[in-house]
Amino acid sequence: MDFPMFHLDWLNDRFLIAMIAIVHVFINHGLAVGFIPYIAWLEQKGVKMAGPTQITNPAWDEMVYKKMKVAFIITTTIGAMTGVGIWFSAALISPSSIGSLIRVFYFAWFAEWVAFVTEVVLIMIYFLTWKNANATLRGKLRHIRLGWFLSIFSWITMAIIVSILGFMMDPGNWNKHHSLLNGFTNPIYLPQLFFRTPAAMVLGGIFGMLLTTIFGEKGSIERSRVLKSAAQWILGWAPVTLAAACIYYNVMPEAMRANMSTAVGTMEFEKYYGLLSYIIPGAVSLVVLISIWAWARPGSIRFAFVLVPCLAAFGFLGIFERVREFIRKPYVIGGYMYSNLLREEDYPLYKRDGILKYATYAGAAVITETNKLSAGRDVFMLSCSRCHTTNGINSIVTVFEGVYGKGEPLEENSMEAYIPNMHNGRTYMPPFPGNKAELKALAAYIRHLQLSGESLEGAQTTGVIVNPLQNVPAAEALLKEEKNP
């Protein structure tokens, strides 16, 4: 790769992106896309429930306002910053892929940004003018309309992003025509959008119910009524979510078959996929149960009772995201770039000359007996470190011990035989890119890791070593050659 390699050797690089992204998705779905329409709906109900001389039911409105305040604070801090955080972390860990995607998806992201700016401006107006809008009925009705309008914008932002997600997994289209349209026409685009919409609504509802148990005064009529409303909201959306989840669940293997003919049936996928078949009915029925309870006996609902289904519902979304990420492998951009950030089309060159020769940052391009370990470390950094650590999460030592037996000495010969063929059996793995000498160096390095427990620092702490074949004098020689061939 042509970038200094940022690497978190204990936490695992992918974990960093995943952590930030999952928090963002939770907030986006549970506190914006699904929550704002729920709040607008409740605000509207408050007006309908008002006494003859009132604009809205004040106690009801106050409770709804407090819920919106929580969503406002969280979305404009953690929500917004994790959104930026996805960019930051992806650029650190996966610069080649995100850099390539931006060149194709600039417009999509720009459009998404415009929708996003509108969304943030509207959410600020919606929340910050709430109290002033309560002065007149006209103002209140306008405010409620604004809530619905904001709901539409939150949904549009999500609809665009789903297209970008869809494109990244689209088989082979990258190589044929790079256009955003492929994202929208992707076979899993509509099922995914159809799934995310009601799932967000359910998340919004269950989170709303949780907040009601915090803000609603125990035993008050308003608390019971708001809990009942949340139950209605969830019970209305839950069957749609279940149906949409089943559709999405069924098209997923189909999409995978198209993506990579080899992936269906790998045990790792089976594991997640199998988990889903428990989690979907499990989480949905928990949420439905608590809703029926809240609907029948709102007075007896407590914070702790709602917390469990709330966590289950968020977990449900989390597992879906995990499966979606997994479908991509062994590519980061379907058919174009492997998850080690190397382009598929460059493999013949790497196989012929090795990856070290073309790496901008590497200690040496030629492997000798003396530099074997440090060269192996470079090979590891270049071809394994995006997903594996040395001794941390998903460590290379652990995965090999999983193959050869825990604590067994890792034999270099066996690993040398295994690595070049692993992608046939473990189809989520990209093929090993390097040449024979690099393979041997890598095997030696892995054995060394097992023995020494050494860790590997990324460019953010140790800096980089510039490959003498990839420096300024080398590039100048190229320019001279061009002029006097």
Partner: protein
């Protein structure tokens, strides 16, 4: 150019895809969207510094505590706009300067990613501060500490951005930088930082002068002794004072800029920007020192002139960046083209992998075995999985059973890891493969 001859300067390959828009258009988008972003960052930073200062003053004079509260109300909006407006320039700089920007990010990675939790934390603190104003009325030290902590974070974050935006201009330093602190130590970071802080105070002063002057702002409802004119005059003076200070720090920034990006065009743009600020400062002076009703007289002109100045400075910044990177970009383009050529050539003539001849006979079946099975299975010895001889002993007359196992292996056996399935193999391939395996003796 001598510095450029260094062997320690890397020349990476560029992303071999076209830019999404003509380069000039991306540059315009970058400069304009960046300035929109940075103005709100200025307001967020300047505003929170002023909140802290006025609230400290408010310990003695309650009116200033009210003033702090009023400024705090603007932060909620300004900080949100600062973040969302930051996405467009981030996208544009990512597209235009992919290699340079991402390399700098990676080299300062830990601090770079820390921006996310730090800013989130500071934002939460500003809300906490705003919404506990009455609750903590009798515990001012705690209340003020909250905003002080947020201010500290806000003051620190620009250093991370500047270290990055500076480091990206100097590939010749990439080989020697070891983390954020050493990137921070490169020349020019601190002068630019001071320049930015001073701009923040000037922009905030101008903004607040407008904010408190709005006709529908019920100033008299909140304040009893402080008058609208007093507050506006103070904020206007703040803007003028820091504009003057910019004339002091500006030349330092210019002088500490490494020479490689300098040219006459850059100087022209910078001096034009400075020149436009001069009449604005004169009008400010007149308004501040004139009679009360004259305070607004030149305000529109001042804002217009200062906007032009900011546009010039923003463009100058981009011109320096383009100049500084031009020679390196040329080398990078040559490198990229060369690599694409080599890669295409290797694709045309791939090397034959020297496959070890598998034992036994079987032609195609042996080849399939070699590609799919040989990393775990050997004829006579246990490797990852059991030896082939063991398969033969189990499936001697049961090719279908063997094929079924290969396609969807059963449960893990003691002493071996779970075997992955091979559903991708066709019926024909499986026939060949099982025939080959069962031919082993």
């Amino acid at each position: 150019m001598t510095a450029f001859l260094q062997a320690g300067t890397p020349v990476p390959r560029d992303i071999p895809l076209d830019l999404p828009l003509p380069e000039w258009l991306l540059v315009v988008l970058l400069v304009v969207s960046f300035l929109a972003h940075i103005v709100f960052v200025n307001l967020m930073l300047g505003g929170s510094v002023l909140i802290l200062w006025t609230q400290l003053k408010g310990l003695k004079d309650k009116e200033y505590d009210t003033l702090a509260h009023e400024i705090a109300r603007t932060i909620t909006v300004n900080k949100s706009l600062a973040v969302v407006l930051g996405v467009a320039p981030l996208l544009s700089i990512n597209a235009l300067y992919t290699i340079y920007f991402y390399s700098a990010n990676a080299l300062t990675g830990l601090m770079w990613i820390s921006i996310i939790p730090l800013v989130t934390f500071a934002f939460l603190l500003t809300y906490l501060h705003k919404y506990t104003w009455h609750k903590l009325e009798h515990n001012k030290p705690l209340h003020i500490s909250i905003i002080a902590a947020a201010v500290l974070v806000f003051l620190f974050i620009p250093l991370i951005f500047l270290a990055n935006i500076n480091l990206m201009l100097f590939p010749e330093k990439w080989g020697t930088v070891r983390g954020f602190v050493s990137a921070l130590a490169l020349p020019n970071v601190f002068p630019r930082y001071l320049h930015f802080l001073s701009a923040s105070m000037a922009v905030t002063g101008l903004f607040l002068c407008w904010y408190f002057g709005r006709r529908n702002y019920p100033f008299e409802r909140y304040f009893t002794t402080l008058t609208r004119y007093q507050v506006r005059k103070k904020t206007y003076s703040l803007a003028l004072a820091f504009s003057l200070f910019q004339f002091m720090i500006g030349p330092v920034v210019l002088l500490t800029l490494p020479a490689k990006g300098m040219n006459w065009r850059l100087l022209g743009i910078i001096f034009a920007g400075a020149a436009i600020a001069l009449p604005a400062m004169y009008w400010m002076w007149k308004a501040i020192n004139g009679p009360e009703e004259q305070l607004n007289k030149h305000f529109g002109k001042v804002v217009a002139a200062m906007t032009l100045t900011v546009l010039c400075m923003g463009s100058g910044r981009q011109v320096y960046r383009a100049n500084a990177l031009a020679p390196h970009k040329k080398l990078m383009a040559a490198k990229t083209a060369e690599f694409e050529r080599l890669s295409a050539e290797a694709r045309m003539h791939p090397v034959q992998e020297d496959a070890e001849t598998p034992p036994g006979e079987g032609g195609k079946g042996a080849a399939i075995f070699q590609a799919n099975c040989s990393s775990c299975h050997r004829p006579n010895e246990k490797l990852v999985g059991p030896p082939m001889t063991e398969m033969v002993s189990i499936y001697k007359n049961d090719a279908a059973g063997l094929q079924h196992w290969i396609k969807t292996p059963g449960k893990k056996r003691a002493g071996y890891p779970q075997m992955p399935g091979f559903p991708q193999l066709s019926k024909e391939d499986l026939n060949e493969l099982s025939a080959y395996i069962l031919s082993i003796k």
